[in-house]
Subunit: 326 residues, 2 copies
């Protein structure tokens, strides 16, 4: 039987999802034992011209998409709503959900997880945090006995690009931001990136996963990179240091502590060498030691990749439960 | 019902395994739904004084260990034999196996995997490669749709320590090796490390996993670090480069190509910043981009940690197959 996907959003990530499912069809089928198809795509404006095969339903009506007998929803839209309403409805109707929406998931992740458990479906959210670089699934699947004592991360590519640029070329914050926008890394409104909110949402998703809870949002110190000036960067350079925008989460004195701020790192810090749009995390574990994982933290292909890997994991579980020990 | 472990070897890693099972008993039980105990330990010399609880059988007779009704064998001895014979026998009697033995697994891994499949048991081998840093399980579980085009790795901590020392302190190869031995990183006979054989075995295990085959061993160019002299390192430093011992494996022209040799890297290479006894790999994927994973590549706690995480994964599969969707 074909596995049927309903895709929410047809921006760069949504397009990436369809491309991968097309280009990797054979591999996916080998992994799951069944063919996979995108049955319908939810878009905001129906009239916009798009190159979508005519076999795929294109609709702006979520309920119509759900009627297509889909097995799973891949959600690639931004912002809290209507994303949350859609995901909730999908789960209530017994569909699995994979989301790349960091803001929505930071706010409603716990609720969605609980709902999914009630309806015997799964929620994948790898791409909410560091795109397709498998930070979430490393914490979730690969470190189970290990206690994670602390996670430090460079979680926003735009901020890291700007800080790298300022250091390497001596340009101002404004000039560097402009270049980030020209290269398509930063949005027209870059507030979420440069004020640290984007990194904040990602950190909250890590917190939920690690500790089953988030700190009180008001108690988290969040400082963006918009007040970092070239002099500070130069001073750090003189001491062989780099200023990096670091998000930290740890369990301390019986509670979760989190902060996000520019700090200067020596070359011995594992995040020191993560430059440009790259993202990375250091996972401090009690047994395996500190593990560093880095890779692209954004981009259509990487984000879509994380969503497809989530999708595979979800269906492989069901598949393996039938074809045990093969 | 209690899950019963037979442990092979009581060196630093074997001790580490017992320690973790003791210290993390509650967590392990929460993960698997059952208590876990080390039922017996196989040692080479029975007369040696050891602090092992009297409830655990200590024997030098493998068959006697197998008679203890164990569910899984954790193998922490070195060298091809008798490790292979033990693992084979265990699998044939329906026991799962987790091994940390890179040499044995590079030679017999494929055979053991096939045998395990026939007997409906699993083989875990995370700790054969970069100890508890989850390189194997990242490739195995987290990158399924992604095609891995190439893996580059610093796979031997002793070599990396020596090269780092030579660059930082300007010491000779011999002096640096001596220091590695004093610190307990290098064996009394350091041949396997400095000639590249240790990295070679690890690379072969990665090859088997990625491509289901290994290159012809004679076709792999293997050069150790024993001919690197301080002048080369100094010259590299002048050009802001570092000489690193890099193992590379890729699929090219219809076959697997592998090499292991000292090469000089610029600061833009993700392995450039991996210094000292740290190990790391760059996984070049077609969708998620290049991912870098680094951490301790040796050490009792890290190696034992990788074995226990393997152990958890194996039993969790069975557990989840019973308690689906919880």
């Amino acid at each position: 039987m074909t596995i049927r996907i309903g895709l929410l959003g047809y921006g760069t990530v949504g397009k990436g999802v369809i491309e991968i499912i097309h280009s990797h069809q054979e591999r996916i089928q080998a992994l799951l034992g069944e063919p996979v198809e995108v049955t319908g795509v939810l878009v905001q404006h129906l009239k916009k011209k798009r190159e979508i095969p005519s076999s795929i339903l294109v609709t702006s009506d979520f309920d119509r998409l759900l009627l297509q007998d889909i097995d799973i929803v891949l959600e690639a839209i931004v912002g809290e709503e209507p994303s949350f309403t859609y995901c909730k409805k999908a789960i209530e109707q017994g569909k699995h959900v994979v989301t790349a929406n960091k803001e929505m998931y930071a706010i409603h992740g716990k609720e969605l997880k609980e709902l999914a458990s009630k309806h015997s479906v799964s929620v994948g959210y790898e791409s909410t945090t560091v795109a397709g670089t498998p930070v979430i699934r490393t914490l979730q699947q690969l470190l189970q006995v290990n206690q994670v004592e602390k996670v430090e991360g460079i979680l926003n590519g735009t901020s890291n690009f700007i800080l790298t640029k300022m250091r390497q070329d001596g340009t101002s914050f404004e000039q560097s931001l402009k270049e980030a926008q020209q290269k398509g890394y930063a949005e027209a409104d870059p507030t979420n990136d440069i004020k640290g909110y984007d990194a904040f949402y990602k950190l909250m998703n890590i917190s939920e996963l690690l500790y089953g809870k988030q700190p009180n949002w008001d108690d988290v110190y969040v400082e963006g990179i918009d007040r970092v000036d070239p002099t500070q960067i130069l001073e750090a350079s003189f001491m062989d240091k780099k200023i990096k925008h670091v998000a930290t989460i740890e369990w301390k004195d019986g509670d979760v502590r989190a902060s996000i701020q520019p700090i200067s790192l020596t070359e011995h810090h594992p995040l020191y060498s993560i430059d440009g749009v790259q993202n990375g995390v250091v996972i401090h574990t009690d047994l395996a030691g500190p593990l560093t994982l880095s890779g692209p933290g954004a981009g259509a292909s990487s984000t879509a990749s994380g969503m497809i890997e989530d999708f595979i994991t979800i269906f492989q579980q069901s598949y393996n439960n039938v074809h045990q020990f093969q």
